[in-house]
Symmetry: C2
Subunit: 688 residues, 2 copies
Amino acid sequence: MMIRFLFALTVFLGYNLILHAQNPNDLWLQQHPAKAVNVQYKSKSPLVLNAVKALKQYWQGKEGADISLKLVKSTAIKAEGYQISGNTISATTEKGLLYGAYAMLRAQISDENVAALVSNPSYENRILNHWDNLDGSVERGYAGKSIFWRGEGDLTVSKADLDRWKKYAEANASIGINGSVLNNVNASAKMLSAPVLQRVKAIAAVLRPYGIKTYLSVNFSSPTMLRDLKTADPLNADVIAWWHKKVAEIYKEIPDFGGFLVKANSEGQPGPQDFGRTHADGANMLADALKPYGGLVMWRAFVYSPSNEDRAKQAYQEFVPLDGKFRDNVIIQVKNGPIDFQPREPFSPLFGAMQHSSVMPEFQVTQEYLGHAYQVAFLAPMWEECLNSDTYQKGEGSTVAKVTDGTLFSQKHSAIAGVANTGLDSNWSGYTLGQANWYAFGRLAWDNQLKSDQIADEWLKLTFKQQAQPDLIQDWNKNFLQPVKNILLESREAVVNYSMPLGLHHIFAAHHHFGPGPWWAPKNARPDWTPPYYHQADSLGIGFDRTPSGSNATSQYHQPLADVFNNPDTCPEMYLLWFHHLPWTYQTKSGRSLWDELCFRYDKGLQQVRNFQKVWDKTSLYTSVEVYEETQAVLKRQTFDAQVYKDACLLYFQQFSKMPIPHELERPVFDLKALESGDPLDFYPQEK
Amino acid sequence: MMIRFLFALTVFLGYNLILHAQNPNDLWLQQHPAKAVNVQYKSKSPLVLNAVKALKQYWQGKEGADISLKLVKSTAIKAEGYQISGNTISATTEKGLLYGAYAMLRAQISDENVAALVSNPSYENRILNHWDNLDGSVERGYAGKSIFWRGEGDLTVSKADLDRWKKYAEANASIGINGSVLNNVNASAKMLSAPVLQRVKAIAAVLRPYGIKTYLSVNFSSPTMLRDLKTADPLNADVIAWWHKKVAEIYKEIPDFGGFLVKANSEGQPGPQDFGRTHADGANMLADALKPYGGLVMWRAFVYSPSNEDRAKQAYQEFVPLDGKFRDNVIIQVKNGPIDFQPREPFSPLFGAMQHSSVMPEFQVTQEYLGHAYQVAFLAPMWEECLNSDTYQKGEGSTVAKVTDGTLFSQKHSAIAGVANTGLDSNWSGYTLGQANWYAFGRLAWDNQLKSDQIADEWLKLTFKQQAQPDLIQDWNKNFLQPVKNILLESREAVVNYSMPLGLHHIFAAHHHFGPGPWWAPKNARPDWTPPYYHQADSLGIGFDRTPSGSNATSQYHQPLADVFNNPDTCPEMYLLWFHHLPWTYQTKSGRSLWDELCFRYDKGLQQVRNFQKVWDKTSLYTSVEVYEETQAVLKRQTFDAQVYKDACLLYFQQFSKMPIPHELERPVFDLKALESGDPLDFYPQEK
């Protein structure tokens, strides 16, 4: 009996006590005993030395191999790209050598073939936006406090800071990220104060040797908020002078400073319109100040106001008339969809429409609307979906990728931004699988044609493969890689299904955006901040009519898209209720009524997550106890939350549809009134 | 489209606007337009007049039928029994006529064949025990405040009181209940004070015309608690005199008073042992006082103390030696199982062992351990299981029914008690389906050979059938009766599965006994009040060893039962862990290990309740909106609670088994530490 018991214990625990336990801090740069490697190189610059160091630290190729790092002249190698030929890594820039070195290392684990390869980045600037506040909090951050800020009163740089920043920089370099905006777009003017800039300088010094430029978000009213001036009017000479002086002060400390990210006249932030000026007036004023130093302005197009106009239309209406009026060092930063990082949106019609401006996509790596760090959602499929969306602006094939990366329009600059999911949590991202989103953003920023499958494959191999026990490695693909990759690849669609399928959007609980709140509409709330504004459910049907009979937002899309979207029969079902208000009895492609189809989708999402649990629970042999249990806990909660979503939305909408939930489906377990009167963040029982 | 919508609305709501809406207050005595009936009768006594009134109020037989009520002499008709021959109801007592009248009415709805029938009650006394307190609260009551008491300060009798008591009396009469203990076994001495007795008198006056005797629970220390004496020693002459005087006082007001129910030397209640006397000394002293008036003492055998002896053995050890020493108007009241109203227990070994005393079963109608009024649990199958358990005390076939109803032993009195589930809630029982338990108790008390299936059938027909719309009546059996009866009949086993399968018991959350608490064992708690005392889980296995290698409780059972229980291979699996501590790897009858089997049972319970939801949700056409939605809400919560139970117990026990939950099973969704740190009553989100 004791023997049977011990056997059972081993099978249950399943953790090889001698395996190299994964350290969540290590991200996808797991520390394995490296093999010996000789590296030939000439430049002793920090970038090249970091390339050499990485090769020596992580080498898993042929024992004692000889690797050469060569700066070359080449027309095939563009910008920060690199070439790998056998054991030689060539580049025209030192950054290229660094990226080439990591590419070679990555390939050793991920089985990528890099024996003969030229790889050039899709975007010149591949930037993480940190919505980190000076006080150490992170807006929409679910991984602990800021890695950059601890509060105004504590600007000293500690050893822990330096270690964290260095690891951060190394991780970014390994996937080609070359820029970091260090603070929240809802920016404090104090970011530009001298003591804070000293800390920025210290951060920049750590990031620089890894090829990462430092940027800041700025508050457009900084001159007045810092009490230097009485106006922030961008055409005012004192304001112009103020910014020129401030920029000079920054560049004196940080000569390779990247530039400014600006959220202006958006959700209460100040901006040029406060003084009767345009976004172009504002952006250009800052651009002029930065121009002498090579700095950029990333000016966000995420603008809308509580008008009678469909919120989805407003950014386009404001920015398209300004096309061609921006300085060449201004890039218009556009969220993937026209509303706000929803689980699914059609692409923003601004992509491809502003043909005389540099336009960059903004993705959200942190899961503001996709379950925070409580739910597994691998976002590469969402970004891939956006990048591959055809805008038709230059004929068929004018994808969002091609209209932003310089392929179709001669932009002076190209860039892509991801709102980071990093924090001080030991796993960096709130939950370990969330690291895959950081990884995926970097990889897609480098190569916007990459497939989600490949990205997931790479990340899983880099993060977990070398931990596997030797006797389990032969079944690793079958027992870990494939099933867990399936979880990752299906996860975002599961979130869509259980939260807002068929084109529903923004029916979240108020403020924190976690969980359902389709009913939320206090009398004094701005209508465009309430879910009923978006779902428009009534006795006749559901959905937002954006066809010509409604807001006509479809007219912002290039033909034939407008026509495709206008007709519910041709409109992709995933956008159906984004563009249409349809009767509950409308027949969907499955043959089911719209109501029944909604029920099936919500239930499917729940069943998908339940299945993720089953799949994950079988993988205990393949990860550390820590990661196994952490992921198990996330999936538990996700199943619970999926049930909350399903029940809340179906029971709420049922009040309008007056139709039964199809009887073959699992029934709701929650009470609508209870869900309406509580907070979705509180429903899941937590340890007291 | 509008037409499609309206059709959908009708299908969804499904409620016939013109049907006679069920009134939960009406219990199974639904008010339907009665047909005309002529009743012949001689006696004008209240009992007979109530029989006549019932016939006229509920008659659904042949229009204008002539019915005769006849008092006859008969040897076939025993005690309060009746005979029905065609249109004649005969009885040897007026109560018999009343019961016969209700039987005829019941048959008109339930299709019971009563054309030629003699029906005699299994037990002489069929009694509800109300655990109602003077302050209006009800111990283990989940249906609102007491129907009898509002507090010492408010003893006036209102019209609402009289109406409620009358309806209560009528409902009891309709199923043959002929006694009510009006107050909690944890009795206040103040029950015997003059003002309170005046209210008892008023209640008795309402119950009497329906054939119901009134009883009181008494505190054994009443003489001292009321400050009349300094001792309650049953052999003390002053004490004896005190009780004689008190009994005389009661009978002066209530000449047909039933007698006393006593919980003595049990869970802190005072009793004769406080004075070095035996239970027999105490019971006999009270019996002597009651004897001149025909009153009974029901003395509870629910006794145990925090000793080293297995709690399950203690009642037997204390009472069997006293067999034959009780007066003939004492009945020993024994809970169905040896512990305490668990979802499943083997029968108490006292049944059949006390062959020279009157012994009565005590069942619990209120769902203290089976989900309160938050979970559907139809208890007839549990009571049927107990009544049909073979004690072997007089050879094979010596069932609990036969050893208590006078068939096998010549008891002076026979009786059966049910702890009521009534309260002031409009549905009487906390949830409407809970009324079925009150009904079932009454019917089994009358006929302890009835099958659960028949009882459920009767109750559903009486309560719901006549509400069905005429056009739905032809499918009523298929679409309502059968599926809902299946829910009822399966419900208790579902509770067993998701809460404590395979003989597990008493692993409830502390105090309120709602939900799981297998971990609950504070340092200062009495061990026999903590779940680990009962489940005994450790690294080797789980279960309470009650074989000779353990507490040897099996020795209290008559052979061959002791042998059957002692061997895990012959022990019925439903009692397996009640009698055995078995290794986690023990092979159960399914071929699965004990651990796997536990997992399957817990999960099965959850899936069963989910299925109840599916079944119930299809019945909207067949009940009132109120009952439909109320039951839907109960089943929702039950599904949630089943998940809590499953997760709590499996994750807790897994800490000992160290074995994986079989991978084909749905995974837990809750976190063990969260469940351990919270209260199961609070986990389900409720409207704020």
